[in-house]
C-alpha cells in the first residue's frame, strides 16, 4: 500500500464523482475509459515491479477486457443507439453533489471505525475504495437512461477490483479471470437487451421499462 496507490484511488474517485453529474453520455464513457486506464496503469506498474506470471496474466486480462473490449462495445452501442442525447439525472446537480459528499464522508467514517488495528494507509485506501463503490451505486439509482445503469455496475466492479488489488495483493488469477469473464458476459447480455429495447420501444427512458406493476 503506497502513496502512489492511494493517490490513484483518489483520482478514480474523482472520475466517479464526475460521472455522477455528467449531462452527455459520451463524456461518461470517456471518464469510464479513463478509470479503466488508471486501473491498467496500476497493474502494469505492479507487474513490472514484481514480475510474476500471475500478475502479467492479470494485467493482460484487464487490458483486454476493460480497455479494449468494453469501451469498444459501449462505443458501438452508443453509435448504434444514436445517443447524442443528454442524460438528465432525476434530481438536480447540487443535490447529487451533496449526496456524493455525504457518501464519501460515510465511507471514510466507516473505514475509520472498522479498521483501527491496521496501518493508516491501508485504512485510507479501503475507505476510498468503499466511497467509490457507494458513488457507483448512486450512479445506478439516479439516472433515467438505461445505459448509465450498466455503467454504474461497471464502476462498482472497478472499485471492488481496486480494493482487492490494492489491499490484499489481488485475487488469485483464476478468480480474476472468472470475474472479468462474468462482467463481460453481463455487458454482452445487456447490450443485446438494449438493442431489443431500442427495437421495441424506440428509446431508452427507464420509465418505459417500468410498466409491469399491479393495478389496484
Amino acid at each position: 500500500m503506497s502513496h502512489w496507490l492511494l493517490f490513484l484511488i483518489s483520482v478514480m474517485l474523482l472520475c466517479s464523482a464526475l460521472i455522477v453529474v455528467q449531462t452527455h453520455i459520451i463524456t461518461v464513457i470517456k471518464l469510464l475509459i479513463a478509470q479503466n486506464t488508471l486501473l491498467a496503469g496500476y497493474l502494469l506498474t505492479q507487474a513490472v515491479r514484481l514480475p510474476s506470471v500471475a500478475l502479467w496474466v492479470s494485467f493482460g486480462i484487464t487490458v483486454m477486457v476493460k480497455m479494449i473490449v468494453l469501451p469498444w462495445l459501449l462505443w458501438k452501442l452508443t453509435r448504434f443507439l444514436q445517443l447524442s442525447g443528454r442524460i438528465e439525472p432525476i434530481v438536480n446537480k447540487p443535490t447529487l453533489l451533496i449526496l456524493v459528499t455525504i457518501l464519501v464522508l460515510f465511507a471514510l467514517i466507516l473505514g475509520q471505525t472498522m479498521l483501527s488495528a491496521l496501518p493508516h494507509l491501508s485504512v485510507a485506501g479501503f475507505s476510498l475504495s468503499l466511497a467509490n463503490a457507494f458513488v457507483a451505486l448512486l450512479v445506478v439509482i439516479v439516472r433515467r437512461k438505461t445505459v448509465t445503469q450498466i455503467i454504474g455496475l461497471l464502476m462498482l466492479e472497478n472499485s471492488i477490483f481496486i480494493l482487492a488489488a490494492a489491499l490484499a495483493a489481488g485475487f488469485p488469477w483464476v478468480i480474476e479471470l472468472g470475474m472479468s469473464f462474468d462482467v463481460l458476459m453481463g455487458v454482452m447480455i445487456f447490450t443485446l437487451f438494449l438493442m431489443r429495447i431500442q427495437r421495441e420501444y424506440g428509446s431508452f427512458q427507464v420509465h418505459h421499462v417500468e410498466k409491469l406493476k399491479e393495478r389496484v
Partner: protein, 487 residues
Amino acid sequence: MSLIALLFLPGVVSLFLLPCIANRTWASILSATACTFSFIVAVVLAMHVYRQQAPVFFFHQWFICDKFGSFFVLINSLIGMTTSFYAISYLINEDNQHLHPLVYRFYHTGYQLFLLGMLLVLLSNNIGMMWIAIECATIASVALVGLYHTKAALEAAWKYLILCGVGIGLALLGTVILYFGAYTQGLGEHGLLWTQLVANAADLPPRLLAISFVFLFVGYGTKAGFVPLHNWLPDAHAEGPAPMSALLSGLLLNVALFAILRFKWMLSGTSLHSLPAYLLLIFGFIGLLFSALSLFRQRQLKRLFAYSSIEHMSLVSIAFGLGTPLALFVALLHMAMHSLSKTAVFFSCGNIMQQSGTQTLSKLKGLLGKMPASATLLLISTFIILGLPPSGLFISELLLILATLNAHILLAIPLLIGLGLAFLAILLKIQPLFWSQSDNNTVMPLKNKIFSYWPTLLHLIIVIISGLAVPIWLLNPVVHAIVGGLS
C-alpha cells in the same frame, strides 16, 4: 476419480456439445440424459458423504461437499432432471407461438449453464468462486427469462439484470472486505477458503465481520427475494418460460439462501452470532407480511405463485433465524418441500397456459371441464402448496409454529397472521379457475403430454409421502452437522 468432478462432468460436456446440435429433439434428449447422469452421481455422492464424518474435498480444497451441501445438491439435481424432462414436452408445444427455432439451442445451453452455476455454488469452498458461480447462474437465467420476444419479458429480464447486478455487486464488496480482513490476519490467499474462515473467524475484527456480512446479506438477499429488494422476482418468475420459472422459484432462491447461510455458519463462533439471526428474522417477517398482503392484488397466475415463493422463502428465513435444532430441521424440510411442490405448480401452470393461451386469472375459468388432466394436477399442486395435509408443507408449517412458540411466543402472532392471509389469498384466487362457467372454449391440445405429466406427479408423490412419513433420516445428519459446528 473424485465424485465431485464426476458430478460436474455431464454439465460441462453438454455445455460444449449443445450449441452444436441443431436437431431439437436430440438437444432435449441430450440435456435430459446429462441431468439424469448428474442425478445418479449426486445420489452416490450424498450417500458417500452421509456415511462418513468428514466432508469431501477436491482441487486444493476449492470444492467441499459436506452434509449441508450434499442435501442441497440432491434437491438440485433431482429437480434439474425432472425439469429437463418437462422441457421436452414444453418446448415442443411452444413452437407455434413465440419461439424462433434457433432459440432452442440457446435455451438448452443456457439451461445447462444455469444448472452448472448453481451446482458450483453449492459445492464451492472458495468464496470468490461462489460469487463467480452465482453471477454466472444469474446471467444465464437473465438470458433465459428474456427468451420470449414480448415487451413484458424484456422488461422483466431488464429489471432482473439491473437489480440482481446491483445485488451481486454488493455481495462482491462483502466478499472482498472479508477476504481483505482474512488476508491481513495472516491467512494469505487461504483467506478465500470458507473452511479456513470458519476456523479463524473469531480472530477477525468484529466490526469488519459485521460490515462484510451486512453487504453479503443485502447482496445475496436481493437474489433470495428479501423485501424490499424483491422487485425483480414477480416479473422474472412470471414472464419466463415455465421450466425457467420453476427453476428460479424452486432452486435459485434456495441457492441464494444457502450462500447466506454459509456466512451465517461462519459467524456462529464469534461474538456476532446473533447478528445474522436478527437480520434473517426481521427480513423474514417483513417478507411474510408483505407477500401475504400482496397476494390479494395479483391478477396473473404465475405472478401469484411468484409472490407465494417470496412468502415461503420468508418462512424459511424465519426458521433459520430462530436457530434452534427443531427450527433448523423445519427450515431444511420446508426448503425441500417447497422446491418440489413449487416446481410442480409451475409445471402445471405451464401446461394450462399453453393450452388456454393466457395467464390472466379472470380469463381462466372452468378448467376442470375443459382440460381435466392439467387442471387436476394444478388443483392437487395448489392444495399441496397451500399446506393442506397430507402435504409435507403442512408438517413443516406446523413444526415451524411449534418452534416459534418454543422460542418466543410473541413471534407466533405475525407468523400465524401471515400464514393465514397467504392461505386465504391463494385459495380465493385459485378457486374460480376450476369450477366456474366459461364462455370461451378454445383449448389447444398438448403433444407429448406424458413428459409434462410424470415430473409433476413424481414431485407431488414425493411431497405427499414426506408429509406422511417425514424423512428424518435424511435431515437429522445435516442438523447435527450444523449444530455440532456451532458448539
